[in-house]
């Protein structure tokens, strides 16, 4: 019985995978891990929630400045980045699906595509940032742009830089995490029996996409 199941495990992949002794079966272990990731995502949502709250407070106070300042953001750049992120979410979801089906090469391919799309997002962000820094739109004392008709355009850009900056940091961390599971996938660690890290990183990546789904219209479209 024991040797038969070990043999089956070798056949199916993830040879090093074990169910920890305090779990009654693999499903329980999977669900415990998923719950942990979801709880982490909740803290992320509340963390970004503070920033969204700041956005709405200052939007209420300096409404005219927000409307004027947001017209200086490039909608096309934002839309392009939205397309990059939702496409990367698709490739990530397909990467998880491939891992569930024990398709190693497919998994690696989809994860690589996700990393490349994330890099494309950062490249667009780089061009946006350099353009804005050149225009003197950095927050606080570094703000020296002229020609605004309203009093507080700097407040909008301060919130813009903080929110997109922290979101960008999440993208950078995401790239690192995806590369980590890409290498593990390449080693053949994941299969239909064990793909929890792929799924966990996937959930994180989808949350990064989900936050951008709100950032894009609020900052670029309506202001």
């Amino acid at each position: 019985m024991m040797s038969a199941s070990t043999e089956a495990a070798q056949e199916k992949g993830s040879p090093d995978f074990v169910v920890a002794h305090h779990f009654d079966k693999a499903d329980t272990q999977f669900d415990a891990g998923r719950l942990g990731i979801w709880l982490f995502l909740v803290t992320e949502i509340l963390f970004f929630g503070g920033l969204f709250c700041a956005f709405f407070i200052y939007r209420g106070w300096y409404f005219d400045s927000f409307v004027e300042a947001h017209h200086h953001l490039d909608k096309k750049m934002g839309a392009l980045n939205t397309v990059f992120l939702i496409t990367s979410s698709l490739t990530m979801a397909l990467g998880v699906r491939s891992a569930q089906r024990s398709a190693r090469k497919e998994t690696v391919g989809f994860l690589l595509a996700t990393v490349l799309l994330a890099c494309a997002f950062l490249v667009v962000k780089y061009f946006e940032y350099t353009h804005k820094i050149h225009d003197g739109l950095l927050p606080g004392a570094m703000f020296h742009a002229q020609g605004f008709t309203t009093q507080h355009p700097g407040v909008f850009y301060a919130i813009y830089f903080v929110m997109t900056g922290i979101h960008g940091l999440h993208v950078v961390i995401g790239i690192g995490l995806i590369l980590w599971i890409l290498i593990r996938a390449q080693k053949g660690e994941f299969s239909s029996r064990y793909y929890a890290p792929v799924e966990g990183v996937g959930l994180y990546w989808h949350l990064v996409d989900l936050i951008w789904i709100y950032l894009f219209p609020l900052l670029y479209l309506v202001g």
Partner: protein, 156 residues
Amino acid sequence: MSHAESHDSHHSHGPDHVPHVTPLPVYLATFGTLCVLTVVTVGASYINLGTTVNLFIALIIATIKATVVALFFMHLKSDLRFHSVVFGSSVVFLIIFISFTMFDTNVRGQFEPQKRHRPAIMTDPFAAPSAPTATPSAAAAPAGSAPAGSQAPAHP
């Protein structure tokens, strides 16, 4: 586990985990929906319906997109219901957090001018504002330099 609450039939396959593999068309349809809604939200931003209406249109579209991502890409539709509850609870508290802050910050400074012209009468708070009698006393109160807060409620 043969409990009735098992969310998938694969629980009866033994100790090994058998994943719930979502069919490929579901992912592609989700992606298509997200692309279409991105075009819609960008398009809607060019139509000026007033900033508040535009904001709510953008937020509604974003929420539809977020729901689609959560249900299909993040597997909440086929996952344990409890994970949806966990996720939903964060959204509920986020709404409370932001909306209650708006109740404060968006109306700051709007109440004080009214209070000066028409001070509340604590013994009869629902009394009709009888302007001729209230105005002289309100005008006299600042001049009398706050006689122990007898008439108007004390300012901080």
